[in-house]
């Protein structure tokens, strides 16, 4: 039995008259690299801000590291957050950023931080503002990891980076997750990246959780059925998430396992994470959530899929 690294109960956040997050109930077990996916304005940053204690919920609760209130001293102590655009003090040399972070925290692995910056070729004496975007991001990540957190929260960490810097950044994150057992929660709208890194997916849409679960389980419970368009409407064996209709062939993303029977005239393919995420993003009404007793393997709730004609 593992603890939940993040757990929310009916979590809602309103800015002015806009609900950034509504009735969000989640439980992400520790030990995952969890990806928070959704279109712009879906509430990804809001959820992260609530989890790291930068924002206060309008309603509901958010607990981290096994039941600690977000933003409490114990929570702050165990969570390192790298915000969007990886803010660092531009006028401070990298060495002073290390010193600053060491003074602001109970734990700080100076040796790790210095070794990593040396490996990355980031001179300690250079001002953070003079570093490239990728180096600034790596500096911010190094500061976060040197705190030896139990949860590393990253808000769109690679959005501004070029492909090489993006690759290097994610490699550092994955190394920390694999070697040190750091749980990771990262928001991203770079779907292609996630296939490689994430083993837990949370899909947000319009402030609500649409999909949440381990990637392996999600992929195993979804199939892409391809068959003649004329037959597609008759398919009703399993819940349909998304329909991509063509002249002759139609693709149905259905909630079915490899053992489920395939209707005559159809072919079944396994789905990839990107494909799955895209299908749900196109169908904001559909949902794949664990049941009320989170963590137990209950049948998924189903939403009413709407058709998208092509």
């Amino acid at each position: 039995m593992t603890m939940n690294i993040i757990e929310t109960n009916g979590l809602s956040k309103r800015y002015g008259s806009t609900w950034a997050l509504r009735e969000c109930s989640l439980a992400i077990p520790a030990g995952h690299v969890a990806a928070l996916v959704g279109p712009n304005g879906a509430g990804k940053t809001t959820l992260l801000n609530l989890a790291v204690g930068l924002a206060e919920p309008t309603a509901g609760g958010v607990f981290v590291l096994g039941g600690r209130p977000a933003g409490s001293p114990a929570a702050l102590d165990g969570i390192a957050f790298v915000a969007q655009d990886t803010p660092v003090y531009k006028n401070l040399p990298a060495a002073d950023m290390l010193h600053l972070t060491r003074n602001l925290n109970r734990r700080f692995d100076q040796e790790y931080a210095e070794t990593r910056l040396a490996e990355l070729g980031i001179p300690l004496k250079r001002r953070a503002g003079k570093l490239s975007g990728g180096q600034q991001a790596q500096l911010a990540l190094t500061l976060a990891l040197a705190r030896r957190p139990r949860l590393l929260a990253l808000d769109e960490p690679v959005a501004m980076l070029d492909p090489i810097a993006r690759h290097d950044f994610m490699a550092t994150v994955l190394t920390a997750a694999a070697d040190d057992g750091v749980s990771v929660l990262l928001s991203s709208h770079v779907l292609a990246e996630l296939e490689r890194v994430a083993d837990y997916l949370i899909l947000l849409s319009r402030g609500r959780v649409q999909v949440a679960g381990e990637v392996d389980g999600l992929l195993a419970s979804h199939r892409m059925l391809t068959g003649p368009t004329t037959e597609a409407d008759k398919y009703s064996e399993r819940p349909v998430v998304h329909v991509q209709r063509g002249e002759a062939q139609t693709h149905l993303l259905v909630r079915a396992t490899a053992d489920d029977p395939v209707p005559p005239g159809f072919q079944a393919h396994p789905v990839g994470l990107e494909e799955l995420a895209l299908a749900y993003l196109r169908e904001p009404g559909a949902a794949a959530l664990p049941g009320p007793a989170r963590g137990r393997a209950l049948p998924f709730e189903t939403g009413e899929p709407s058709e998208v004609a092509r």
Binding site: M3, N4, F81, Y89, L104, R294
Partner: protein, 333 residues
């Protein structure tokens, strides 16, 4: 709570003692040493100027002003240095506002403007300790620097008091002396910090700080200060030179007649003593039974007034900083 949640282990949380303040002191020093250095250089350069001219002023007073009412004093001392002293005091009126705006406003506004608050407020120290650990040492530092500076200015200005060129209660110099200068600097810093938190941008926060400070300082100098203690009232025309005259008026038979300036007194004079140019207005009015009354603050009240002004400014500053810390705790991204 779900079945998966394990309660936070108490022994682990018990070890979470607050981080020592000296660590935060290093952070504050590292991040604001440039601003504090700027204040030190600015006040230091001005102090050197005050010291050099102050020596000349003291020398000139010592040689020319025996007695202070002599013509030599008026020519060689106040005539030579009076205008300079006026400019110095007017410039100094702006100094607390400048210090407060340029050191106080950026503390939070820069973090909020550049997004670094997302770094700073998610560190283990916690954001309210971070805020307090920045604002308290910085306020003490700028107030102490201002306090030391005003001691020098008091020395510089002392001969002008002695010569009766300016009274300590003068609006132009009262808040540059004693505890008031440090208190005003403290208040300006606190206004700046709160403005930075509310406005969240450095330049507008600096502008707002200057505007609010100017309004507060003017309101205090022009209206508020004279009401700290009820003024004394006298009909004796020979007031001590250090008295701060609040208002003067004429009364007849124990009832108010007209103020001692403005159109009413001119009308009264032309009615009572028409066409007579060989009697002074005072003689004319007293001949007709009018008495001049004066309300004033005696010079002996200088220090009580200093402490009153310092006290309410300190209270205001503490309140503003408390509000700022509260906002940091409450308001979030």
């Amino acid at each position: 709570m779900t079945a998966l949640t394990m309660p936070a282990r108490p022994e682990q949380d018990a070890s979470l003692r607050p981080l020592p303040w000296r660590r935060m002191a290093w952070v504050t020093w590292r991040q604001h040493r440039a601003a504090l250095g700027g204040v030190a250089v600015f006040l230091g350069a001005f102090a050197v100027y005050l010291w050099l001219t102050g020596i000349q002023i003291h020398h000139s007073y010592a040689t020319a002003c025996h007695p202070a009412s002599s013509l030599a004093c008026a020519i060689n001392f106040t005539g030579r240095y009076g205008i300079t002293a006026i400019f110095v005091s007017i410039f100094l009126q702006a100094v607390p506002a400048l210090i407060g705006a340029f050191t106080g406003a950026p503390v939070l506004a820069r973090e909020l403007e550049t997004g670094t608050f997302r770094y700073a407020w998610t560190q283990g120290i916690g954001r309210w300790r971070w805020t307090l650990g920045k604002l308290v040492p910085l306020t003490i530092a700028v107030a102490a620097a201002a306090g030391a500076f005003s001691v020098l200015f008091s020395w510089y200005n002392q001969p002008f008091f002695a010569a009766g060129y300016v009274i300590p209660f003068s609006t132009r110099v009262f808040d540059l002396h004693g505890v008031a200068f440090a208190a005003w600097t403290l208040a300006a810093f606190a206004i700046g910090a709160l403005a930075g938190m509310l406005i969240r941008r450095v330049v507008p926060a600096i502008a707002a700080t200057l505007a609010v400070y100017a309004g507060l300082a003017l309101a205090t100098g022009l209206w508020l200060r004279e009401h700290y203690v009820t003024p004394l009232v006298t009909s004796n025309p020979n007031l001590p030179g250090s008295a701060w005259i609040i208002s003067q008026w004429y009364a007849k038979g124990g009832t108010f007649a007209f103020p001692a300036r403005g159109s009413q007194i001119i009308n009264a004079l032309s009615r009572l003593c028409p066409g007579t140019s060989n009697v002074s207005s005072a003689q004319c009015l007293s001949r007709h039974g009018y008495t001049q009354w004066t309300s004033y603050q005696p010079g002996s009240r200088f220090w009580p007034f200093q402490w009153i002004e310092g006290g309410w400014l300190l209270a205001l500053s503490v309140l503003l900083i408390a509000v700022t810390v509260w906002l940091v705790r409450r308001r979030a991204a």
